[in-house]
Structure formats: structure tokens, C-alpha cells
Subunit: 338 residues, 6 copies
């Protein structure tokens, strides 16, 4: 039975489904009654569930952070939907698909993947060999197409890493590729390969099977070093395959792009970008992540009647949407100036 | 008689021409002899000139920073060209063209100007009216096509501002324009107009008639405020012309792009970019200025036999050019790893 | 009927009045009872109001942030005053005066205004003409005498901007004016005019009709640029009126004071103060805002029995009031040192 | 009757004891019932106490922050222990020992004190005289063996300052003392005396009789200046005693160690360490405080089943404990790499 | 014979006098000739002296930094005055007055001292007793009226500390004293006493007998701690004299002013100002030092024909003097705007 | 013939040897004479060499940075030794040993190497296997015992890296090893192995065959990433050798020590230290490098008659040596205080 998204529930709907129990509490009142209050989540949003006349057994039947099977009924309360439960307990792993609980890219993974393969055409034979080895590594690519680009900041959803890389490739092709490249001194092949590699370590840095987080090695060494290790591994395979090593300097230029792509030490890169291509990848990464955050914030804004979005903690600002057309702004200074 | 560039002088050439005297000194030796030493410059470079048996009158015949007429002969000395002078004094204004002493864009101004007019096509009628008023302001545009984009840092040559703006327009058109814009939420017309306006205040901030520097108002209020003042002036003209004011919010969005384009207060912008278009202009400005500096540094590098450029004080780094092919690098670790 | 301030209510008082509903919640208990809990505010303070046996209709009868008409009775509970409500719904605009809900200067606006006019006597005829044009602009001055000097930090009440400017003028007159100026190289007239202008853009930057906040242009361009635009407008009027322009350099010096008065880029000024007068205005602004915050914090302190104030988030410190006389401090080290 | 620690209570235990009332609230429900909820603390931890059918008198019978006598019974509720109270009121000062409510060093004070005296053997006679005067000042030493090393950050418990100093002395002896000092240019005697003195001002800076906080002089001048004042006092006594002053330069070197031990102005030291001994004390202080925080955080970790500790606000990081052995980590990338 | 200042020498003057030899060099030429080149200084300025046909003995006859007796003749050379020497050797201490080589306040020390005593009238008896003890300490006051306020930054001349303190006292009296104090919550007596004390430690921190520098204790503990030590000493004397101690809190408030007057840790104050008086002293100190630097830079400017001063390394800016009236500025944008 | 060190030359000595020509210039005078001036260096110091009557051929006979054969005579001039040359030209590679031109550790490499092997005894078998593989890699170890620890900052001489590592191992053994470890929660084996590995990437990051500098990969990826790559290589070898992989978590902990040992991102570490051992290695690295710089600066001080060293640009301070005993300091304040 397919999962019913929380956002699609209507007042009065019966529910028999699995959700993530983000938190739980056993509450009491003076007349002997206790009730269990749970925050339920899936990737569409979250609701409060309540089970009246709850016992300690109900409370102990599942842990926070676990997926739970619930039975109950949706009810509108104080303008919000809630779930009145009659049953709740830990779910079995075969009762649900973990991805129902994680946000996903709005774009089709297969479309993005095909676009990536189209864009990632390079003429340098050593780069081509290297890229092919990556693209043929199924386990790695399975991670690559699923991984988010981050836990919270930008592209924080399944497929986010792929989407981020494809947009950057597209921008790079437009600026540095084609017949009339805008900056002829920048090596287009190296930029494209560098874009593909720059965040690849995130496949191992992040965890995204059941929730978004960091792996141990993600926290202890970080995706820059992990990316270099992945590249070293493929370079060794390429040497075996081609019968000759990838040229040292080419490999060094790729590693440099990975290691320097955050732009400076304070942002987490041990080296400053010191080649045109490293600078190009850093700048495109910055451009795509900033624009993506801003456009997403505007698209997902929940208060169309306001001229400004909520404060965005990572961008550290609110964004201007403009005064709604219907309501001609009447802030005092405007009156005053007529 | 056209100016003969310093870089084109050969050993033994006779010289009768005007150069900029960057510095002067009257030097002496124990045998009663004194000689005058002058640093001569034009936009191709600089040389040392020496006049033997000089007198106090020679020394007083011109000031530092002035253009001087010189007569003499080119001579190779210690691997460098120098000028042995027989005559030197201040030149008259009609003896030279000030632009011979200022570096210039490698691109034709007329080509850049035409490309600007092609790219600056917008469909929003108010923006179009505003842009036309700017493009028809001949005095302003005369400054715009001559001004450098900066005194030292990037595009520091005549025509540099125009070149910087045209490249940014080109990049914007490729990323935000056409049938398949990469970030559909970004208003292409507003970005293009914003790019045109963002540095326009530099026409008044900088001086570039005889040398590059800052005007009084350039230092005391800066090109951001000057740009807003220029826009206010044109908006008033547009209102008269169109019979209706430019919509407040449109004007505000343009001013915001100007005021926020340095990205944050520490970089000189009183406001953070808070619209997608302001962020886009800021990011493209950053991208073009950084890539321009890097590519120019590599192109003008004077030591092809070295793998690294000199230290670049503004980029605060050296750039990697790669080991010259003829000299297979033999750094110790490479030997050690074979 | 005049508004009855929340701080003046006593246990048992009947209430029929309008207050600002800062927040609302419909709470429930297991016996079927629900109650509505509201935070009510006016400029004297805030109280919790409760309406027992509330319905969804009560909850929907007003929005958060709106002014509401309430009927009920004051009641002391757990050491705090609360309001037990019998009626609550949105108020009509003609039922209240918005200023009852905004804090106000403790000083009379008319007194401050007269003092401003006394202090703002300058002998430079161009400055006098400019200042007169500002003082005669009734719409602008209406804003000027009402505006706060900030939303939160200092002088954050109606009339605060005027009070801040008058105190700075007074300090400037004492230090730079009179027969025995302390720093003879500082132009007293320019400082006084600069003080008047430095924050004038706040009249348009801030909103203060019903609550304190920022206007769109306040956020998008900021009060520095707005101040320059106001000055440009008056300078154009002055030129028409006088038949000659305000001298360029005088105007530039005034703009420079406005643009540089925050002291440095990181604090929001694109330029550093580069004239004695710009530095003087910046320093007096800093001096008045800091002392004002400190003295207000001490005056409004609510715990006379403690030696220290609460932590002040903007000053980022607590302030020392001194040990209350009655309680001879007995911290261990003092005992130990006798 | 000795105090019964909160952490030692079991379900059903009767309680008649004194605890610190950290906070109190009188809560209500619709059926006329009110209950008092109190957070009780001692140095072993904290519990929630509830007194059903409470009155305003119960609520007024004690203040927050005061020690209270309570009678009641321990009860397990929702996995946590709580106290159901039948009586609660302010306790008399003779009913309890304040130290039951402050955390304490796990090491015996007398053991630490003896170790300090063993380690603090110096051969320089002036240093020995000075140190003896300190060690014989009973009032001061009473504070020294009780004081914490800080209010929150490290060694924040009774005896913490002594423990911190003894560990630093031990490290100094191993690195700079003995027959084979690791850095022969560092004066071991001066380092040991400097370690003893560096934080001695904390005895007066902090308060630790009933709770941890700062004294007035602690906040207004700080422990660096207080330490210099203590040293000045003893130097005067030594001069009287010895009939000759402590050599100026020796005294200056000691004061310098005190004043510079935070390492730089931004960390609170007006001077940078400019002698080997001042640098050594600064570095050992840093080393001991960091390692102490880290090891304590790991030792007190409450979730052995997790690989990482909670976020530590002062260290600004989480710490890696390692994957628990029983649960072979199955993060996706590891599966993927087999 | 009084010292003849270097700035007063004319072409052809004979010279027999003592100057400071800032640097020396023995230079050579191919014809066997050597000459000695010396930079000579006094408080009016510096000149280059040259002794032709010099020997190693001439070179060894004095050290750099020493005062030397010279005989010779002034000569104009290349627009600058130089001294052609016939004799040069180290001077005896009785041949010169060290103060001829140190810059001095333009104001009379006796006038400043009298003004200080007039301004330093306080009504608080304990403060009065303390201040009198300071004013009666002749050795200390002898240093106080001579000391500069700094080595390089502001008031860097003999009498500079006194001048700085008197100007601050004057400003404080105008703002906080009299019948109509501008900030009634600030204790005028405490501010005046705090101003007198805030930099008093500089009397011991700096050396100014023969040149400006730092004493050992100046570098190792700094003038904040030295100031507290001076205050402790006087407080002990006052206790003996008055038969009762200065009240602890009053003393603490004074120490706090001294310790916090740099404003924050990064500027060298271990504590933030936490009383109105500490904040007032800090702000007046900042105001006077900044205005003093700016006005002095403008007054001593050597290029009246330029609109801007030279770059000021401590202020980190150039200052705007204004376009000279005779030369109507003709920067391009002005032409363009007519 | 062994190289004669520049520092050992005496007035009048004949010289026939090879030195490094750090810079060269052909200087002229009016009488037709030219002379060549060269700065000659070896690891003992540097001298100026002069060849009278030089020709363009002399000037072209070698390049700056090259080793040159010189013939001539030492001569004392103006208190400094110089070399009067009769011959100078580029040397052949077989005429000199490059190490004569690089500074060296004062300690015997073989002694340090043996001490390293003694100290590096660990009981964990996997660590032991790994360390053995490193120690048996002759090419790598040859670099390790030669490499400096840095180009300029600390231990900047041949053998400096080894010396730095051995001192850290010694300190670690004393603090964390033996029967009575000072911090029992720190894993001694892991710390020792981490110390050995933390800077090992410097063997490849730096060049030290003929002069100290950075390799290409040193600049482009840095010694942290290079260290991880070296470890990965040995871990693969260990797996082959042992028939089982090094445990993932152990390897991860080692990589974490390498990657985090600079302490934070701004200092060049992408990760903060998050294990006790990573923190311990970071702190010991900091302690040894700081103390080493300070003690070396004091040991190499050239002015025993001064109380302070010269300004140290990396430490950003001068160091206090103390007043020389013979000259009882007579700074003014001391007189004043008797």
C-alpha cells in the first residue's frame, strides 16, 4: 500500500500508515487521565498525534526517531490538522520505504542523470578515462544520484547533489564551452571534470538512508579529503587499465580543484584556488548554491500577502518579494512624499 | 608625429618624443660631475633616462608627474634599455595625447559599445526608457567608454569599465536569458539593467584624464551613492518624458542592486543583496573581476620558464602555470615515488 | 474614553478597552473545556488574558498583531496580574489611537523642537538656506519629530530621533561652539548641520505608524543613501530659490558626513570619516547612543536589591549599580581580607 | 542527619531533607485544582517535585534559589524519578551544609594540597620566600583549595582551581624539571611559581560559598589585576621579613606571567607572553584546560550507544567516542565499499 | 650657547652645535675618496650631513643614536638643505640638553598644570583626599607633566599626556558638570578623577628622558596594571592619613575606569566598561585622541596646493582639506556635468 | 677540499671556494669604471663581494640564485667583512655540496633517528605494523630525516622536521606514557603514532635539495592531504602484508589527527580536533613550535647588551632577555620610586 503523505490528509480521514515519530511525551491531568503526544513526520511535513488514555506501555512501545505504525483519524483543531490515534507501535522495516521520510528533488533523477552524461563529454583522453571509471562505478553512482548536497544549507534533499552538479555543469558549458567561450583562457574540460568531482566526497561524508546526517568519516576527515581519496583510487585503476599513469600534473590540477573549492581556509579549504579552473569551480559553486537557496526560499514562501520572506538563518537575511499588487503599499513615508 | 612607445625602442635609436616623468633625482659624484636620473613612462612601460653633466636648471625644468619633451639616444645597459638624454624639459599640452600615457583595453571600444547596445535589449518599457536616457547622455557615455573599472585592482585601463560591463552582460544573457534560462526565477531584464548601472558611478568616482586616481566625490561618497544619484536624475527626466513616474518598486530594485553589489558591509555595501537579481549581479561582478585578474596575470607573466607566477598582491597568492614541458620537473618526492 | 494603561490595573478592576493582541492560543483540557489565552500589550507593558470555555469562534475573531476590544476583570494570580475575559474581538480603527501602543520619549516634543531651532543657528548663508528648507518641509518634519532613532537599539520610542539629535547638538555646541571652542579646527556650523542631517533618512527608513519596523526602501537602500537623496532634493530647491547653486564642496562635505557617520564599512558606512567634522559627528553619535543606552538601562532597572542589571543583549554586558546600602556585601574575599 | 543525594533516591523512598529550589510555578487545571511544581537540586543532580492541591501560601513559602525543607515520596514517572511532596518551606541555615549543593572535585583536597607542596619546591631563595608567604596565608589558602577554576567552562567545581594548578605543576615538572629537561632554556622555578600564581586572583574573582558566580571586583577588574595586587602585597611583606626587597626584575617576570597568561589581548591579556616562562605557563594552561574539558565530557557522556557526544557549547564541537563494539556500524558508504 | 634648530639654518650658515646622529654610513667611490653620510636630527626636523674624504676613524668616532658635536656649513642642494661637515664626534653629556631632541607640546606646561588644578575640583571628600596625595607626589607629577601620551600615535611629544588629560577634563566639565549637565546620571566627580588616573601608568610605561620608548615594566605589564598599582599605593597612604580606608566600592569604581578605558579586550582592556563613568572616560579618550590626530595632521600638512593630506598610517586614511581656492578643480566629471 | 664557511673568514684571508650568489648588480661611476657587486651566501651567513673594473661579461657569467666559484681576498670594511674578487663565474655541480648552503639542525641526525625509534614503541599491533612499514620505506625516511619543518617559521633547517617530531614524542611520553600518565583517558600509542604522521606530508610539500621552498603539490594540495595519501598507501600495503585490513576506525582516527592538527579551519585544518588524541597532538605541536621559536630567538640574539631582542615577525613581538647585570638599569621611573 503506498504511503499517504501527511500533507494530503483531510478532516475525518481514517489513517493506517507508517510515519516517523520525531518526539513523544506522556502527559497527564489531575483526573487520572494521561495522553500520549507524538510528533509524526514524513517528507511532506509534520503533524501532532494524540492518543487519549495512554499507558506507560504505549509510551514504551517505540523510540523517538523510529518509524511507527499508527491507526487513527485526522481531525482539524485550532486551524491545524491533528491525528487522534487508537494504536501506535514501532513498525517493521518491511512495512515502509525510508525515502518516504526524506525530502526529494523536484526533478526526475533519470532526467538529471542523462543530462549529466550529455554534459560530461570531454576531449582530453585521460580525463575521459577517469570520468568513465567513475560513471561505471555503480555503487558510487547509486550514492551520487541519491545524496543531498548538504544536511541543511542548500539542495538538502535526495538527488540534491546531482541537481547541484548538473546545474553547475550547464552553467560551465554556457560560459566556458562552445564556439565562443567567454573566458578563452579557462580549460573547459578541466572545469567540467572538476565540477563533477568537487563534492563527490559528500557521497561518503553524508548519511541519507533514513535521515540526513554526517558519517563518522564525514565529520573526522571531511568531503574534501574523501574526494581526493576517491580520485586516487580511480587514478590507480586507470593506470592499470590504460597501461600508463594519468599525468601527474593533470591529477594534481584535479585534486587542487577539490581541495580548494571552498575558496579559502576559513571556509574549510586548506588551499586557495590557484588555477583558473579551480577559481571557476569555486565561483560557480558559490553562485549556484546562493541562487538556489534564494530562489527556493522565494518559491516555498508561505505568506504571499507579505512583502518579505521570513528570516533565513543561513543566508542571514530576509528576502524582498515585493508588495502584493492588490494591496498598494501605504507605508507612511510614501504618503508623505506625494 | 605619432608617439613612439618605450617598449619599441632599440639599442642606438634616436629619440625625440614626449614621455611622463614619473620621478627625478639629481645625483652627484666626487669629480664635480652631476647627472640627472629620470624615470620615463608611457602606457607601454617605463625606462630610466640619464642626462650627464646636469645642472640645477635641468633639474628644475620640469616636475615629477609632468609630461616632458626629451631628446637623446637609446642604449642597452646591464641587460636593460636606458635613454641617454641631451635635452629634457616640460612639454606643452599640444605636444602630446594624454592617452599615450594610460594603459588601454586590448579590445576596440567601438566593438564593445556596439555589443553593449545589442545585449542591453529589455522588454520592460520603463527599464527601456531609463536605459535609453542613459545611452543618449553623451557626456556621461563618453566617460563610461573611457573609464577604467578601477585604479589598480581589475580592468585598470582605459575602456576597462566598458569591457567589464560587456562581459558581465554576456554572461548574464547566457545564464538568465534565451529560451532555456538556467534560473527561471531571476528576472533577466532587471539583471541586465542592474549590470549596466552597478558601477556607473565610477565614471565620476575615478579620474582618468591624465592618470588614474580618485575624484574628491569619489573618495568622499563613493561610486555606490554616486550611482544612485545618477539614477535619480534619469528617473526624474523619464517622468517628464513619459508623463508618468517610473514605478517606485522598480526604481527601488535598481537602487538596491547598485547599493548592495559589493555583497556585504565589510566589502563596502551598506545592504546585503536581498533580491535574486541583486545577488546575481553581485555574483557575476565577483566572478568576472576574479577571472579577469587571474587570466590577465597568466597572460602577462614574464617568466615562461617558471611553473608559478609572481606573488599577486591583490589576489594574495601566486598562480600555477604548470611545469614547462621541456623541463621534466625533478622535485625530490617525484624521484622517490617512481 | 481615554485608554487605561495595563500597568495601572489593580486586582478586581473592570476593564473595557482596546489592547494589542501580541499572540493567541486555544488550549484544552481533558474535561472538554477549552480556554483562549492571549498576550495583551500597550506601551506601558503586557499581561496575559484568559477566556474560559472558549470556542473556535473566539479564536478566529481576531488575528495576532491586531488591536482587540476586550471586556473582563483584572485578577492577581501567582504574583502577576492577569485579565479574565468575557469578550474579545477585533477593534475598529476608530476605537483607539495607535500611539497608545508605541513607547514615547519622556521629553515633550514641543520643548525638544524649540530647543532644536535654537541650537540650529548657523552663520554660513548656504547652510542656513538649506536648513531652513528642511525645517519648512512640514511633511518631513512631522516624520522627524515622531520617528524613533531605531527599532530596538537606542532611543527606540516615538520622538527618539529628535531627542537624539537635540542632545548631540547640545554636546556639539558645548565642545565646538561659543567663545572658547575646545577644538578650534573643527567647523561648528558644519558639525551642527551634519548632526541634523546624519540620521534624517531614518524618517523614511523606519515605520512607526502602528509599530516599529523598517520600510521597504529602508531595508533595500538604508538611511544613509536616503539621507543623501533628501539632501539632493533640498539642494535643487535651494538653487532655484537662491538663484545660485549650493557650492559643490559644501554639499560634498555634508554628504560625506551622512555617508561616513557609522565610522567604517563593517559598521555600514561605505566611507571612513575623512574630515574633522565627519569624525566629530561620528564620535558624538557614538557617545550619545552608548551613554543613552547605559543610563536608560540603569534607570529602568527592576531589581534595586541587586548590584548588577540584567544582561543587555545589545551592549553585550551587565552594568554595575553598586551594592545596595542596607545590605553590606559579604562576599567571601572581603571577609578574608579584614 | 547527612544529606541524601537526589541521584540516590529510589522509587517509593520517603524523603525528609533539604534541597535547593531552583524554580517554582503554581499551575492550575479547570477542575479547581492547583499544583505547585518545583525544580529541586543538589550537587548530584536535579528532580521535579510536585505538591498537589497547592495554595498561594505554599507558593509564597519560599523563594527561587533558596534552600527548602521538603517531605514527600519518590515516584518513577515516564521513565524519570519525581518527588510527590506533602510539605515544602524555606529551610534554616543550620539545617544544611551549602556544599551539598555545589559540585566537587573527584580528588581529595588534602591529597592535592600535599602534592602541591611537594611539587612547589624551588631553589631560588626569593621565590621560595614569596611562595612560603602565600602558603602560610591561611585565609587565602582556604579560598584557594575551595575555589573552582571557573564558573562554567573548565574545572567548574569546588577544588577545581587546586586540581588545575596541581596538574599543571606536574606537567611542568615533567617537561621542564628533573635531570633531563626537555627545553633547557626555560627556568623551571619561575614556571612553577608562575603556575601557582597565574589564577590565584580567581580566589577573589569568583564566589563559591553557596553558588558559583563572580564577585563585584571579579567583574570590574578581573583575576589578572587581582593576582598582581595579591603579589604586590606579599612582596611588601617579604621585604619587611627579609630586610631586602624582592629583586625588581624577578617580580616583574612573575607579574608578566600573571598578566599575559591568556595569551593575547582578544583573550583578555593586555600583554603577549614575552618570556619563555610566560609562554610556557600560557601553553600549559591551555593544554590542561582543553584536555580536561574533553576528557570530562567523554567520561560523563550519558549515551554509550552513540558514537558521538552531545554538542559542547564551549568547545564548539561534538566529540568522537567511536562506534560501540556490539553494533558494527552500517553506514551506507561502508556497505558500498566492500 | 643655546641650540640652533635645524629648521632655522640658511644657505651658507656656519654651524657649531650638537645634533642627534640618527644613522651613519661610510660611502666610497673609485678614485680613492670616501665620504661619511649622517642623518642629523633635533626636534625641529632632520638634515643630511656629509663629510668628504672621511676615514674609518671618522666613522668610528660616534654611534648611531648618539648626540654628536658637528662643525660645518649649511648648503642648499637639489632643493634641500644639507650640512657639509669638517668635524664630527660624540658629544659630552654637558654639551647639550636632551629635550632639544624631543618634540614638545605647543602649550605651556605651567598653563596646562594650573588649568588641571582648576578643573580637578571634586566635592567627594575621599576622592579629594586621593587626588591631593597624587598632586603632592612631586616625583610622580614631574613625570606626569613631562610624559608624552604615546610613542607614536597621538600626543607623542613632551607634555602630551598632560595636554591630553586637560582637554579631556575640559570636555568632561562641559558635558557632565555645571548647572545643566547633559547626562545627569553620570557622576561628574568620578569622571574627572577617572580621567586624571586613566593614563597615569604611562608615566612609568614610557621612557622620555632622551628618546621616546617603553620601559621594561611598560612592556611586560602595561600602563593599565601600573595605574592600578599607583592607585593602591595612594589608597594605602590615604588610609593612614585619614584614619579610615577609602570606601571599597569607590576604589573599585576608579580601578574599573583605569582597567576598562580601552573599551574592550581586543583593544587591550581586560574588562568592558560597565559603569556610566567608565564608559564616559573611554568615549572621551577616544574622542580626544582621534580629533587630536586629525587636527594635527591637517595643521602640519606640508602641501597646501593639494586637496588631500598624505596617507596617515595610524588613522589608515588620507584627510580632505578641500580644493585650494585659487585653483578651481577641473576633474572631468565636473566639466561633464555643467 | 671542504667548504670554508663565510663566517670563518678573517681579514686578509685568500679565498677560492663556491658560494651561492643571492643577488648581483653592475654598478658604474662617471670615470668609466664599473664594478660588480654580489651578495654571497652559505649556511653560515652572507657577505658582500665586489669585483672592480667589471665588464658585461662578468655580469653575465652567472645567474642570481646560482652557485658560483669565486677567487679573491677577505677585507674588513666599515666594520663588516667583504670579499674583493678577482674571479667569479658559475660553478659546476661537482664542485660543491648543496647542503653547504642550507642551515642544519644542531643535533646529530643519527642520534635523533635512534631516539625516534626508541620512543616509537607501541603495543597496538596494527599501529606497530603501520609504523614499521613507514620506517622501512627508505626513500621516504631519507626525506624525513632531511626535511625542515618549515620554510621560514620554526625548525627551518635540514633535520628540523625530525627534531620537531622527536621533541614532541619525548613530551608525549612524559605526559601520556609511563606508569603514571597525567591524563589517563588519552591513548598514548595513538598520540605517538599521530605525532609521527602529523607532518609527514611535509617531506613532499617542501623542497630542500638546494634551497627551501614548496613543491607544486605542496602548494596545490598541502601537507595535510599529502599525509593522508601516504597513510592510505601504507594501509594498503599493510593489508596485503597482514592478510587483514587495518581496522577502519583506527585508520580514521589517524587520518583525523593529520587533518585536524592545525586546530581549526582558519589555521588550515578542515576539521576541528574531535578526539582526545587529535587535541593532544595539536596542543603539543603548538607548544613545541612556540617554545622552539622563542628559545632559538634568545639563543641567536646578537645584542647581549640590550634587554630586548629584535622584533620577531612571526611571533609578532620582541622578547625580554632581562637587563644585563653589569649595567644596573636606570629607567626614570625606577629612580623616581626609591
Amino acid at each position: 500500500m503506498p504511503h499517504r503523505m501527511l500533507r494530503q490528509l483531510h478532516d475525518g480521514d481514517s489513517v493506517e500508515d507508517v510515519y516517523l515519530a520525531a518526539s513523544k511525551a506522556l502527559r497527564t491531568n489531575r483526573q487520572g487521565g494521561r495522553y500520549l503526544q507524538v510528533e509524526l513526520r514524513d517528507r511532506s511535513g509534520s503533524l501532532i498525534g494524540r492518543l487519549w488514555n495512554a499507558t506507560e506501555e504505549h509510551f514504551q512501545a517505540f523510540r523517538e526517531g523510529e518509524c511507527v505504525f499508527v491507526r487513527g483519524r485526522a481531525q482539524l483543531f485550532q486551524g491545524n490538522m491533528q491525528l487522534i490515534l487508537t494504536e501506535i507501535h514501532a513498525a517493521n522495516a518491511d512495512q515502509y520505504d525510508p525515502r518516504d521520510f526524506l525530502p526529494q528533488s523536484e526533478q526526475e533523477v533519470s532526467v538529471l542523470w542523462n543530462r549529466l552524461r550529455e554534459l560530461l563529454q570531454v576531449s582530453n583522453p585521460h580525463l575521459r578515462a577517469l570520468l568513465n571509471l567513475f560513471l561505471q562505478d555503480e555503487t558510487l553512482m547509486q550514492g551520487f544520484v541519491q545524496a543531498p548536497a548538504g544536511v541543511r544549507v542548500h539542495h538538502a534533499y535526495l538527488g540534491g547533489l546531482l541537481e547541484h552538479v548538473v546545474t553547475m555543469l550547464e552553467a560551465a558549458e554556457r560560459l566556458f564551452g562552445g564556439d565562443r567561450p567567454l573566458y578563452p583562457g579557462v580549460d573547459r574540460d578541466l572545469v567540467l571534470a572538476g565540477i563533477f568531482l568537487h563534492d563527490l566526497g559528500k557521497v561518503r561524508e553524508l548519511t541519507y538512508a533514513s535521515h540526513f546526517g554526517y558519517s563518522d568519516e564525514g565529520q573526522l576527515v571531511g568531503h574534501l579529503v574523501l574526494g581526493v581519496e576517491l580520485l586516487d583510487e580511480k587514478a590507480r585503476q586507470a593506470e592499470t587499465l590504460l597501461g600508463e599513469p594519468i599525468p601527474q600534473e593533470l591529477l594534481l590540477r584535479l585534486k587542487h580543484i577539490i581541495v580548494s573549492h571552498h575558496g579559502d581556509p576559513a571556509s574549510g579549504s586548506p588551499c586557495l584556488p590557484m588555477t583558473p579552473e579551480a577559481m571557476a569551480v569555486h565561483l560557480l559553486d558559490h553562485l549556484d548554491s546562493r541562487l538556489h537557496m534564494i530562489l527556493r526560499e522565494l518559491r516555498e514562501d508561505r505568506f504571499p500577502e507579505r512583502a518579505w520572506t521570513e528570516y533565513h538563518p543561513h543566508l542571514e537575511r530576509r528576502l524582498f518579494k515585493g508588495q502584493p499588487e492588490a494591496s498598494p503599499s501605504a507605508t507612511p513615508h510614501r504618503d508623505g512624499r506625494t
